[in-house]
């Protein structure tokens, strides 16, 4: 059905947008490198393909006059999702152009900002491209050639958004969101908050509330309890063996 297809394509576009934003935020920092530039390029291309596919599908659906009102409302909601995604993509592309120009790769002394990020972004890029491993095959001066391509692509995206605004008559403010406030808290079992480091990050800001420090203390207590029981078990087993031998 048209709706399901649209939704999956929009989800894909959403995923690629999020990954692209993640990659752009690493530009200019110490995790920047030739690989990152190539990842950006590939992710961008993928995003554009998805965008064009989404646009054709949605415009075709919206132009159809024979759909019911409910369907139409749903398609308008999907359209607003699509345009918001495109806005974010556009801004990120423009920013990546700016930062890419300010921090070129092929200079004698690179002055990348030491932000503390030292890992590579390969995993994020492979998530965006939906592949297992990323292959890097770009040549040495990717940053210059890529920036030129990027300028052209930004112009294309601008043009596309203008066309979209002109041709599709959807009032974005009339769309009602399906999710209410706090919807993200449900069904987020996989995105739990279990890293100990995060606790140390929030220590200062939540000192006035006892919850996190209590939580942390509780965790340490449980940890200590587990170690104690293990030691007791080992002592018990050793004692049993000694008595029996």
């Amino acid at each position: 059905m048209g709706k399901e297809e649209c939704k999956t394509m929009l989800d894909a576009l959403n995923k690629v947008t999020a990954c692209y934003r993640h990659l752009v935020s690493a530009l200019g920092s110490t995790s920047d490198s030739q690989n990152l530039r190539e990842e950006l390029k590939k992710t961008r291309k993928k995003a554009q393909e998805l965008a064009v596919a989404n646009r054709t599908k949605l415009t075709a659906l919206l132009k159809d006059k024979t759909i019911s009102n409910d369907d139409r409302a749903e398609y308008e909601r999907l359209w607003v999702l699509f345009t918001s995604s495109m806005e974010i993509l556009e801004v990120d592309m423009k920013r990546s152009l700016e930062i890419g120009q300010d921090f070129p790769l092929k200079v004698p002394t690179r002055h990348f900002i030491q932000t503390g990020m030292t890992g590579s972004t390969t995993t994020v890029a492979s998530r965006a491209m939906s592949v297992q491993n990323m292959k890097y095959e770009a040549d040495a001066n990717i940053d210059l050639t890529d920036l030129r391509d990027l300028e052209a692509e930004i112009a294309q995206v601008d043009q596309m958004m203008e066309d979209m605004e002109m041709k599709v008559q959807v009032a974005p403010w009339a769309v009602e969101a399906k999710q209410e406030a706090g919807a993200e808290l449900r069904s987020t079992a996989s995105i739990g908050n279990s890293s100990v480091g995060v606790i140390s990050l929030c220590e200062e800001e939540t000192k006035e509330r006892g919850s996190w420090t209590d939580g942390e203390a509780g965790l340490m207590r449980v940890f200590a309890g587990i170690i104690f029981t293990v030691v007791l078990l080992i002592a018990g087993i050793l004692g049993y063996l000694i008595i029996n031998l």
């Binding site: 607003v80 601008d158 999710q179």
Partner: protein, 453 residues
Amino acid sequence: MTISMVNPSGNLREQMPFLTKMERVIVSMQDPDVGMKMRNQRLLITVIPHAMTGSDIVSWLTQKYAITEEEALHIGNFLVKYGYIYPLKEPRNLCLKQDESPYRFQTPYYWTSTRWPASEMDYAIYLAKKNIRKQGELIDYEKECYNVLHKRINHTWDFVVMQAREQLRASKQRRKADRLVLEYQEQAYWLVNRPPPGAMEVLEWGPERGSIANPRVQLVTGHCFFLNNACVCECSFVKYCEQYQDHDPIMQGCLPSNPWITDDIMYWNMNSETAVMPTKLRVERWSFSFMKLLNDPLGQKEFLIYLEKEFSAENLLFWQACEDVQHGETSRIADKVDEVYKQYLAPGASNWVNIDSKTMESTLEGIHQPNRFVLYDAQRHIYFLMKKDSYPRYLKSEQYKNLLEKAIVPQETKKSVFPFMRRQRHSSPSPALLTQAGDDDGKALSSSVRLDL
């Protein structure tokens, strides 16, 4: 679409110069030889590099720019307040302490930028992410902001939730240390751009001023993505200049001669309202816009003659009567409006004007309480009717073309051969010359007195 990056006036903002300067300082701190000394930050299990102490920063600034410690502390404070360096121990306290408290550089994407201001949607995504991470335990002001945003950008809320989830999933792909740094960075960015209540707002905007200096504007259309309203204004300005180039007395000189230079007022006489035959330039100017034609009394006369031939003279007469009501005496407004009604608007009037029924209804209603602007809508309707219909035809008509041919091109008066010859002045001599003559006399007297001694 949400209004995000482009501000209401349509121009793209430029990065403010003080921010560019701070960026340069930060980049020079990254020099591998003479830059900042970096340490490692040790958390419970993880070690994150690239931390520095407050005292390091101050001493580096003092050394590099050869300034006093006080000044270095002041500059360092700015760097922290504007989000280029963020503190690791007390994130909400954005100030530089000259001791062992750790700081870290912010990634360029999150640098404070007037060119890319933080948008509502981004803040909503950040709050949603925080909500997920903290299982709903947001701080009070953040909860308020969350609710406000939920109402304000409700139409994109689905997108906000989707994007928040995806961004968290993307960041889970990185290793733990990097994930922590990401969280620190984002938190610092939003503390600067959406400060908690009571904290100073560093990027306070005064009333929006249109920025005329947009150096990246190019007039050549193409794939220049800075083409925007600023460029449209520039294009129309250039067109205006080109159009009026020949008519400008300063650029082209005015014929017959500039009265201010030659004291010959023929130029004014020829272009006055009561002149019988207009100059060629004047007639050309009528073709620039309809308003220009109507502002010139001679133009109005000519246009009226043309309209009489076309049997639509009542339009212009009506327009003139409305102008009279608008700009005339208050005491006579009621009478004038009455006259206008009798002559132009009443059914079966002698000079009945063709207005659409809606405007006619509202005008007739308003006439019962006559004021200066009661005929405004009708006047505008007729104005546009004339502009779209009669005015183009007038410009193409024989009458206009004949007038253009017959119009005078005044001859340039011959310049006098003796440039220093005293010209016959019509106007009284300038008072400046009188006082100068008086001074000269005075000086002559005093010098003669001294010589006598």
